[in-house]
Symmetry: C2
Subunit: 498 residues, 2 copies
């Protein structure tokens, strides 16, 4: 028991070993209980409460006075009670789902090691593992010998920002000193279905969202290459400089794979940097059955790949891979001599910190590396193939089911399955404005009920002229056909009277 | 024992509970052993090996085939064996040191909850705790009622980048759409002793490093306000727009506090955004004895404050606090409707994700919040006061000690104590070029030996015309006077024959 103790009794307190061990073991017990519940289908995915209820129901305040260790343990339990069980087999709400036990263990170790990635000096093993893993990822992309460069960054949006940053630097290195005012107007191209981080990065980098041209997609959400070429020519005719094409391998909503080979041909023709945003689709590179969907990615100049999505690595774990070595360093380095002393005793090429936009950089590598050791490439492959099989199962089950309507024709390419549920009241209405105005309320209403019951979670959104629909994604290895069946029936149960 | 098991036997495998519990308990044992060693002064801070030795001494490769759980446990032990014990009482190498047991427990819980900060929907408690903590931090800065805005970001460099970003947006909101080409040339001001992240951010944001004017410092490393005003006027005369002044509260090398009140007066006079980079010094706001050093911070428009530095929160934990509410949101939002559905059932002001440059954002709040609960504000105060007392102790001990020479006159304002160690061979040489060329090699040589012995770690660097000197910093609550004594004697032992 640690009931009478306070944090002042923990290490580094004198004779703090016993209390420390007891406290951390009690924390482990709480975490183990949560883990077991996470995988137990009889527990809720979420015990939902409105913000005011949570704020008023508990004392979360920060005070002058300390609290006991016992109070902290109670707080930990409360925090987890109202957390969303993102590893629950019926949690389908985001692209990142699941709770990998090896990844989790690795993350605990990472927290315990509590260091930064800037130099080999303070993170020798992690720096080496990052080097090894980035090389392996580049091999999987198809770059000969795994040559090139890369960095782990705090999420796909920042990885995409890096890509824009180095593409700009490659063309106009003077931008680093002189800024955007000294160079011509740049235009980036990305599909209307692509992730908002391209525009967000363009705004931040001083390019401006007007410098991002959205390319038309076909009905499946894939870039139409002819439109890309047309818009590149249009930009050139205006005297602008097309400098960056973002091709998405696995769009957020439809899970579409842009035609990478056709895009690579166009980028090659017009000498434009080709970036492949495979944040979501990159995991498919691990699968012999599905990796053809990324054919052409090897022709990209840079690739974003988030192992925290399809590969189930704990958050966060995102990599930017770059074909040309040295660009990241040249683009970002500032040579701060209090971090990157040139007169150290070891090979300074391992001090990778100056490649980063960040100064301190969190250790995101160990969880990916240890999971890879645990599963082998074949284990990741099996896990990913299983998720894609499940999405096929879902697709086949609902595509002709009464009350369900698919947003897209044809088999899904990724695990995204997009559909409307039609309550009886609107099922037989003609497809007109009135029906759409009713239909757009259905998914939010079902979602609200779903959250209240806490039985499952799935996301919805509109897309273009298509009103709110459900977007199922499966990245959780814990999910089974039974969970897919449950989801379908739960949507019917919650929505039938609407 | 889990010796015959593989990761396929862990949850979510059928009947995986037993193996999972055993595996995670064994991981905990490894971590506990590391923690006990961390605080044991008879263990090394680092068991240093050169990159090639580590690469060749072990099999770190990623293969097709899986490995057993037993192999993973061995690997975890190896990884920790060669890790730097950043919590060791004699680790003084970086601004972030120490290993707080409550912070660590909270980080383990965070990993287990494995969620993202973008919406209340998937991180209800963490979103609320971020709200509460940011408000509390703004109160500590001195903004009435804790009003304002803020965000936790992946490190101080990114927090500083946010500050530049919103300062630019505040003055020229059209930059978001139209980019830097559409607005006048902007100039940011920061001291020659300030953190390199200001220049790094300026390069990234398309302002260019030429748009960053370095202001002169006095001998203690503090901005000279008259030089700031002069350079602002100079920029205006050239037709440029001064838009951002970075004042540092706790510089990286000297630990200097810029004169915030004088800077605030100048910023007010010329209507320039005042940012306070208190990444390192912010912790002193918790101390009634030392917070006067940040007087004037409350007049800043934004403040960077890294609890992972002086407050000992596990990496990473950095906040940007902003006086004006709504700017972060307006500057960065892209309204992606698949994340920020406008038709949700709860108060959407809790969906803070669109304030961020990131899409997914790691949960960095729980460790800070739980530590604050554990210690209370008074606990942080005691911890910080103790570190500052220790730096006084060090200063007093070496300032007149034979063989030591202080880089600065006068008592340190933060825990930074900068000094040269002079081996006998150069102790009595005249202060000329020859002596300097010998002296600059001393710190690197001592550091190399220090790493080989692994007994302690402290950083060195040059600064301006001052050749390599040691920069001691104390942020580790585990350190005592005995450790300071050890450091001094160890430098003497390692350096005397040079």
């Amino acid at each position: 028991m640690v009931s009478d103790n306070s944090c002042g009794d923990l290490l580094p307190a004198c004779n703090g070993e016993g209390v420390t061990i007891t406290f951390l073991e009690q924390v482990l017990d709480i975490l183990l209980e949560y883990i077991l519940k996470t995988f137990d289908r009889s527990t809720k995915v979420i015990d939902f409460h409105y913000p005011d209820e949570l704020l008023e129901g508990f004392n979360w305040m920060l005070d002058e006075q300390p609290n006991t260790l016992e109070d902290l343990l109670v707080t930990c339990r409360t925090t987890l009670k109202y957390a969303v069980k993102t590893g629950h087999p019926r949690y389908f709400n985001q692209l990142s789902t699941g709770l990998d036990m090896v990844g989790l263990a690795a993350d605990w170790l990472t927290s315990t090691a509590n260091t930064n990635m800037f130099t080999y000096e303070i993170a020798p093993v992690f720096v080496l593992l990052e080097y090894i893993t980035l090389k392996k990822m580049r091999e999987m992309i198809g770059w000969p010998g795994g040559c090139g460069d890369g960095i782990f960054s705090p999420g796909g949006a920042i990885s995409n920002m890096y890509a824009l940053l180095i593409a700009r630097y490659k063309l106009f290195p003077e931008v680093k000193e002189k800024g955007m005012a000294a160079i011509p107007k740049l235009i980036a191209f990305t599909s209307e279905h692509s992730h908002f981080s391209i525009k967000k990065a363009a705004a931040a980098l001083g390019i401006g969202t007007d410098g991002v041209v959205l390319i038309k997609c076909d009905v499946r959400g894939k870039i139409i290459p002819a439109d890309l070429e047309r818009r590149i020519l249009e930009a050139k005719q205006k005297g602008f400089v097309p400098f960056f094409v973002n091709a998405t391998a696995g769009t957020t909503v439809y899970g579409a794979f842009d035609p990478l080979v056709a895009i690579a041909d166009i980028c090659n023709k017009y000498k434009v940097w080709m970036h492949v945003d495979a944040a979501w689709g990159g995991g498919l590179l691990m699968s012999r059955k599905h990796r053809w969907k990324l054919n052409g990615a090897e022709r990209g100049n840079s690739v974003t790949w988030n192992p925290h999505k399809m590969m189930g690595v704990p958050l966060q774990c995102s990599a930017l891979l770059v074909r040309e070595e040295g660009l990241l360093q040249n683009c970002n380095q500032m040579n701060a001599c209090y971090l990157f002393q040139p007169d150290k005793q070891y090979d300074l090429s391992y001090d990778t910190g100056d490649k980063a936009l960040q100064c301190g950089r969190h250790v995101d590598i160990f969880k990916l590396w240890l999971m890879w050791r645990a599963k082998g490439t074949m284990g990741f492959e099996a896990q990913i193939d299983k998720c894609l099989d499940l999405s096929d199962y879902l697709y086949n089950k609902i595509r002709n089911r009464e009350g369900f309507e698919m947003v897209l024709d044809g088999k899904p390419q990724h695990t995204n399955v997009c559909f409307w549920y039609l309550p009886h009241s609107i099922r037989h209405l003609p497809d007109n404005e009135e029906r759409r105005s009713l239909l757009l309320k259905v998914a939010p209403q079902i979602k609200t009920r779903m959250m209240s019951f806490g039985t499952t979670m799935v996301s919805y959104q509109p897309q273009g002229d298509k009103v709110n629909f459900f977007r199922m994604v499966i990245s959780n290895p814990a999910a089974t056909q039974e969970d897919i069946d449950f989801l379908i029936e739960e949507i019917e149960r919650l929505g039938q009277d609407l």
